[in-house]
Amino acid sequence: MSVKLGVPSKGRLMEKTFDWFNQRGISLTRTGSEREYAGAVNGVRGVSLVLLSAGEVPRELATGRLHFGVTGTDLVQERLPLWEQQIEPVQELGFGHADLVLAVPKAWIDVDTLDDLDAAATAFRAVHNMRLRIATKYHRLVREHLRHGGVADYALVDSQGATEGTVANETAEAIADITSSGETLRANHLKVLGEEPILRSQATLWRSRVAPVSASDRVVIDGLIAQLTG
């Protein structure tokens, strides 16, 4: 058994994660062909690299198949209701910043808060005989946020991509999505509700609380944490 570290398998998130480890004396590399998700670790002994989709990291940590993993706070909190019992954050990595926000058409000058959204949703239901639809892929986080804010008369509709376009296409009246700059929202004539975001997310190194650990793994884990956070 070795200590398993899971890292996003592609894109900027992978590159920035590799850079971050590199700056702390651990070099991560992808091995084999472009399409093969195998990797190597240099600079620390007893750690093996697993490349996988950022969305799968939370589950793999929660089941204990990974000891460490890099993924966003948003994915952890959406997919693991009891995340605090299953995993713990080791270090925020300082990149991959994104907020999960609620956005409505900019022309809704009467809607700035959740309170307004609730009032608009009730009136909308009376006029259109349907609930005000909010397009998102973060169903659990959005539902909890709206319940906490006391919003009723809405319906979540699933949107796995191009969520900002759903309002103009009239498949939703509002959206809840991850935004880093707000550029796409503006281009689609949407505005963020003027309150705290549903969640502030960034790429984070997590540690599983449930992965099996042998005596020799323990030494490796303590060394790795010291090297990364020291």
Binding site: A119, A120, R131, E144, H189
Partner: protein
């Protein structure tokens, strides 16, 4: 460890007891129309019910309770008056507490009867109380109708009352609205500008909500800003009402005092008084029965009158072993024009056995 066979045997016993009290046993499907449940409860039901689907029927939910299907069945072809009993599994998603069951057996008793609502309330409560009597549970009772009557009687605008009534079951939100309507929270600078007509928007309007709807909402906000605030005296009365938490005779005394200044609750208080007499006639010890105005405000939102629950005093970690209440409005919403006063309660035989095993 309580086995499933033991739970089902206890459920059968309880159901037989309800049949002996005059109820007709009924069965309902496990798969329920998601559309009906979503229409009743909104998106929040998804946090509580398992959703499944197929290509032909679309979304279905595993029944989170029996009340909705039993009401549907009665409204479709039930004779009056009617008493029903049932037992079977219900399914509840658990996202926060892994120790709570996501599938458990309920046994219920439901009464659809126009003749004497107070007597029906007492009948259901007494039957359930007898079934759990050996467990020495703590009873809780309340009446949602008291708060709705108080809100309807406020000296304020219809839209404000409608907003408060919508959020009776969301106490935090209810409080926030009341603070706003009573002028305790100042308007934000942005809202002041909007009302003054100083907010312009250059972005085109996208989506289904029309300019007319936006204009109407701004008009509503302007009207609201002009309406006088709900008086501090009325807010104090609502607070006093929400704070009532006593044994039933003392609670009634306090409620009658409050009703002097808040006459809109008088008929609801009379109803509680009639119910107390009916409970006493059924042998319930009303002298020591707790009453709490706020009880039931965070449960399923179909209860609109009498509400009750039975809890273990030693095991605060356990959910209620029995719950029930009156749901007249639900029969109206599912009845397509028809309606009938209805009250019911459910027991959890699995939890009852668990407590007995511990004793």
């Amino acid at each position: 460890m309580i086995t499933r066979a033991q739970t089902l045997a206890r459920a059968a016993e309880l159901r037989a007891r309800f049949e002996a009290a005059g109820a007709v046993p009924v069965e309902t499907p496990i798969l329920q129309s998601a559309e009906t449940l979503l229409d009743l409860y909104g998106e929040e039901i998804r946090a509580r019910a398992y959703v499944t689907s197929d290509a032909l029927r679309g979304e279905q939910m595993l029944r989170p309770d029996f009340t909705v299907p039993v009401v549907q069945m009665h409204m479709a072809d039930g004779a009056e008056p009617a008493r029903y009993t049932y037992s079977g599994e219900v399914f509840r998603r658990q996202e926060h507490d892994p120790d709570r069951a996501n599938e458990y057996v309920q046994v219920g008793y439901e009464v659809f009867d126009r003749a004497n609502p107070a007597a029906s309330d007492a009948e259901v409560f007494a039957l359930i109380a007898q079934a759990v009597a050996p467990l020495n549970l703590r009873a809780a009772t309340g009446d949602i109708g008291l708060l709705t009557a108080a809100v309807r009687g406020l000296k304020t605008t219809t839209p404000r009352k409608a907003a408060l009534l919508r959020h009776i079951w969301r106490p935090r939100r209810f409080r926030a609205l009341l603070d706003r309507f009573s002028g305790r929270v100042p308007l934000s600078a942005r809202r002041e500008k909007l009302l003054a007509g100083d907010v312009a928007c250059d972005a085109p309007l996208v989506g289904k909500r029309t300019q007319a709807e936006i204009d109407r909402r701004i008009q509503t906000l302007r009207d609201d800003a002009k309406a006088p605030p709900v008086s501090a005296a009325e807010v104090d009365l609502l607070d006093a009402l929400l704070g009532v938490r006593e044994t039933l005779p003392f609670a009634l005394e306090q409620l009658r005092d409050i009703a002097v200044d808040l006459p809109s609750i008088s008929s609801a208080v009379d109803g509680i008084s009639r119910r107390a007499e009916a409970l006493a006639a059924r042998g319930v010890d009303v002298e020591n029965l707790p009453f709490e105005t706020s009880f039931g405000r965070t449960s399923m939102e179909y209860y609109d009158g009498f509400v009750f629950g039975f809890f273990s005093p030693n095991r605060a970690d356990l959910p209620a072993l029995a719950t029930g209440g009156r749901y007249d409005a639900l029969t109206r919403r599912l009845g397509q024009g028809a309606e009938i006063p209805a009250v019911g309660g459910v027991l959890r035989p699995g939890l009852m056995l668990e407590l007995e095993a511990q004793a």
